[in-house]
């Protein structure tokens, strides 16, 4: 299946993936993925830890060979024409892949020289990127002393030295504090207006919503949904009723009380006591009814409210588990970063999917 709308008639997609599979031992990280990303657009690849996102990016950036299927990046086959693909792409992974002992400027100049730019051009390109990424003041200090946000900006700058036509960002804000995260979003948005095709993976639903018009949701190595953020939200149909039960032992009573109101099974977060249920277009009627039934059941609640569905709700509706949970229903703490960075992510991929 073709996941996203194709670009203007006649233009080839910047990324085309058909039936891509990859296994590590008996773990099937990718089980037949299809993607099509028109030139100059952003595709958000959304999925929990271990869904296969990083595996897909590693295949598309020629770091890993697929078992089956094919992938074209900028028209070139990632297996047979890997060298041509490498001339077209930029990659920024889950950790800052920079040499901490070197200064920001030295890092970028070295990358430029390794792209076989002339010495003078590598120098001016580095200066230009330092300016663009607001790193001029720190440019001549060793990157070791940079904040996490600055290191990631430098890493992103490094991925752009070769002026790639297709850029891959694998979880660009994992492990960043909220303010640095917003800063990265601004930078990523400005890249996109510059016409770069971008494939962005994230486990943050708000990030995909914020940066990508087209989103594919992957889970356990399969694309389970695709469309715009709005289309995905429409799939769960209407509003969500949500409240917190401070006394966790009463959660099941609360679920029984509201089970007739919702259009779907209520979802209970055992850790936070937050209960949510889709109520379709019944809106305020459902709200009034919920107040009554919960009161009758003598369940104390807090923050009972109706809200527009988030992509979290979409994920829940699609997979039956929340985005931050793994397949076994174990709660993963959101935004904790990944232990061991990149490697942690890949190990998780091996274990979970």
């Amino acid at each position: 299946m073709s996941q996203t709308s194709s670009g203007p008639a006649g233009s080839r997609p910047a990324i085309l993936v058909e039936g891509l599979t990859k296994s590590f031992g008996d773990v099937r990280a990718l089980r037949g993925i299809d993607l099509s990303v028109p030139q100059g657009t952003v595709l958000g690849v959304l999925g929990p830890n271990g869904a296969g996102k990083t595996t897909a990016v590693r295949i598309l950036t020629t770091l890993l060979l697929p078992d089956a299927g094919r992938a074209l990046v900028d028209g070139h086959d990632v297996v047979r024409e890997a060298a041509a693909v490498r001339r077209s792409i930029g990659l920024a992974g889950q950790s800052a892949a920079i040499q901490e002992e070197l200064t920001g400027r030295e890092n970028l100049e070295l990358i430029g020289r390794l792209y076989h730019l002339s010495k003078a051009y590598a120098r001016s390109r580095a200066a230009e990127l330092l300016e663009q990424f607001d790193l001029v003041d720190a440019a001549d200090r060793p990157a070791r002393g940079f904040s996490g946000g600055m290191q990631r900006r430098l890493d992103l700058a490094a991925s752009l030295v070769g002026q790639p036509t297709v850029l891959f960002l694998d979880e660009p804000t994992t492990g960043l504090d909220p303010r640095s995260r917003l800063g990265m979003w601004d930078i990523i948005r400005s890249l996109v207006t510059g016409g770069t095709t971008l494939l962005l993976t994230t486990q943050y639903l708000d990030e995909a919503d914020e940066l990508a018009r087209e989103i594919v949701v992957i889970d356990h190595g399969l694309v389970i949904a695709a469309g715009t953020a709005e289309q995905l939200k429409d799939r769960i149909g209407g509003d969500v009723l949500e409240f917190t039960v401070p006394d966790r032992t009463r959660c099941s009573d609360a679920v029984t009380a509201i089970s007739k109101i919702g259009q779907s099974e209520p979802h209970v977060d055992g850790e936070t006591g937050v209960i949510s249920v889709g109520v379709g277009s019944r809106g305020s009627d459902a709200l009034i009814e919920a107040v009554r039934t919960l009161d009758n059941a003598a369940v104390e609640t807090r923050g009972l409210a109706l809200r527009r569905p988030s992509l979290d709700d979409v994920f829940l509706a699609l997979t039956g588990h929340a985005a931050e949970e793994d397949g076994q229903g174990n709660r993963r703490r959101r935004g904790r970063g990944k232990a061991g960075g990149r490697r942690g992510g890949r190990d998780a991929a091996k274990v979970t999917s």
Binding site: T61, G75, E81, R87, S95, A97, I98, L102, L110, G162
Partner: protein, 273 residues
């Protein structure tokens, strides 16, 4: 999405063979230069590579040396220095393994592998820089040796040959380390693994004590392992005496190590993940 739409695109001009060869050299030099720059900026590296062998020199020369009886011209310090230099060259490989494991973990190797640079450059640049680092360290150790009474007794040419042999030996060990660093991919594990195999090979050899002083079963190992052949050759070159037999055995061993571990390291780099 039909395949025809996406099938063929005009490839960006692929570089010629000549250009590729030129890039392989220039990329290696860039990586080597970067690694040497990093080395000079990390005091801990400098300490590990230079201070530690100096401490070994002083320890064996003045603490253990008095108790070790050797029959070579110039006494124990003459016996010791070729051993220390060989050990220093072998231990230089720790930095190779640790640096590669770190780069792998941090995603630096992923970044470089996703770029249109020469694929060989990360390894050749690393080994090139390590060779320079090793040579600098060896020359410092020779100078320290001279300060504590060591002298080359066999002329200038053989002395240079000894330094060259030590460097090639160190480079061979670095190839093993490059493989283990990339294959294991975790700096602490790599370091522990390095100690486990390098300690027996360097200490159960002729590097610090005459093998005759060891129990028979240990002599069997010590007499027939590559570190002993290399150190005995170096000692012959530094102090005079027969060299040929040990030199051939050394060359055979070193060639064997290169033949096995260079392809393994290259394969580990290509598959690095």
């Amino acid at each position: 999405m039909s395949a025809a739409v996406a099938a063929s695109a005009p490839a960006p001009a692929a570089p010629s063979m000549f250009t590729q060869a030129r890039w392989a050299v220039s990329d290696s030099l860039l990586i080597a230069k970067r690694n040497l720059l990093v080395w000079t900026r990390v005091p801990a590296f400098l300490v590990f590579t230079v201070i530690q062998p100096v401490m070994f020199v002083l320890l064996f020369r003045y603490v253990f040396g008095g108790a070790i009886r050797v029959k070579v011209p110039g006494g124990y310090v003459s016996f010791l220095m070729p051993g220390i230099i060989g050990q220093t060259a072998a231990f230089a490989s720790f930095a190779t393994a640790i640096a590669l494991a770190q780069e792998l973990k941090k995603g630096v190797i992923d970044r470089l592998r996703s770029m249109p640079m020469a694929r060989s450059a990360v390894l050749t640049g690393r080994l090139g820089a390590d060779t320079v680092r090793m040579l600098v360290t060896i020359l410092i150790i020779v100078a320290v040796g001279y300060a504590v009474g060591f002298r080359f007794l066999n002329g200038f040419g053989p002395a240079v040959a000894m330094v060259v042999l030590a460097t090639v030996f160190g480079l061979a060990i670095c190839c093993i380390a490059a493989f283990t660093g990339l294959a294991i991919g975790d700096e602490e594990s790599v370091q522990a693994f390095g100690l486990i195999w390098l300690f027996p090979f360097t200490f159960v050899s002729s590097a610090f004590v005459p093998i005759q002083s060891m129990p028979g079963w240990l002599q069997a190992f010590a007499n027939h392992q590559p570190v002993t052949y290399v150190i005995d050759t170096m000692r012959g070159l530094a102090l005079g005496g027969p060299v040929a037999a040990n030199l051939w055995k050394s060359i055979a061993w070193l060639a064997g190590i290169f033949i096995v571990f260079v392809p393994l390291a290259v394969r580990a780099y290509r598959r690095a993940s």
